[in-house]
């Protein structure tokens, strides 16, 4: 069972989500990001599975993926790796664009994810810090192709609340 907690800074527009996994190692959690097969099973929201057509897990490296909606429509996105300090830290810029990984100026501007991995007494954890440059960017990101995921995720709220009770 993953123990999830979060810290929000509404003034600095930063969200940090920490997930602790009992009985896991940092190296195992790292593979969720490094291994393309595993990554594409969790990145896309439910109903919008992600296919990574490229995953150069290297600095500087690029990943390109598309999320395919229930109507067959595709939304392309890209990652650029700015830091890969195995198995402690990842710093990834992500944004929307075309099938070649070119940023699309019509889309919400890119954001940054900083992922820190750490062993714990019971297993391992990572925390993901997302930094947004403006409310407008955050607004656009949430609107963008994530509606389905949100609806389904809301159905998991009870389960999530039960888990939160286990987090100090």
């Amino acid at each position: 069972m993953a123990h999830i907690s979060s810290v929000k800074d509404t003034e600095a527009l930063t969200l940090t989500v920490t997930a602790e996994f009992d009985g896991q190692t940092v190296e195992r959690l790292w593979r969720l990001w490094a291994d393309r097969e595993q990554l594409q099973r969790w990145w896309g929201p439910p109903g919008w599975p992600a296919t990574f057509t490229r995953h150069d897990f290297d600095v500087p490296g690029t990943s390109i993926y598309f999320m395919q909606g229930p109507e067959g429509d595709r939304h392309y996105g890209w990652w650029r790796f700015h830091e890969i300090a195995m198995p402690e830290r990842l710093r990834i810029e992500d944004g929307f664009g075309d099938a070649e990984g070119n940023p699309d100026p019509e889309m919400p501007e890119s954001g940054e994810m900083i992922v820190d991995f750490e062993p714990t007494d019971a297993g391992a954890r990572f925390s993901i810090r997302s930094v947004f440059s403006s409310l407008e960017q955050l607004d656009a990101l949430i609107e963008m192709g994530q509606e389905e995921g949100m609806k389904l995720a809301l159905g998991q709220v009870d389960e999530i609340l039960a888990e939160d009770a286990q987090v100090r």
Partner: protein
């Protein structure tokens, strides 16, 4: 769930310009805690009363605070709607990550089977 901004681009810009300054963030944090007069705020800083008043005016234009005259005092209140909007957006983004982490857990569980 589609979350739409009730703010115009110009309003959003004003909010971010207002919050780009450390003194203004500090003033905002103080008035979120409790309403207070411009002179009470000014006592906290080494800068002039006029400079503090200017910072308050920037926050006011960004709709982050409102000012109300009470006798000889000008009382500054936090205007929570803008801050609330930021909080709601961050909540939605958090839900997306929680959903991802649940899928990660499923992958990890398979590996242990």
């Amino acid at each position: 769930m589609v979350v739409r901004s009730e703010l115009t681009d110009a309003e959003v810009d004003a909010i971010f310009q207002a919050l780009a300054d450390a003194t203004r963030r500090d003033i905002l944090a103080r008035v979120i805690e409790r309403e207070q007069s411009v002179s009470a705020i000014a006592e906290r800083y080494t800068m002039s009363f006029a400079a503090v008043q200017k910072h308050v005016a920037v926050l006011e234009r960004a709709l982050l605070v409102t000012k109300e005259r009470r006798g000889r005092e000008q009382i500054v209140h936090a205007h929570p709607q803008s801050i609330e909007h930021a909080r709601r957006l961050l909540d939605d983004y958090e839900r997306l990550w929680r959903s991802r982490i649940h899928r990660m857990q499923d992958i990890l569980d398979e590996g242990n089977a």
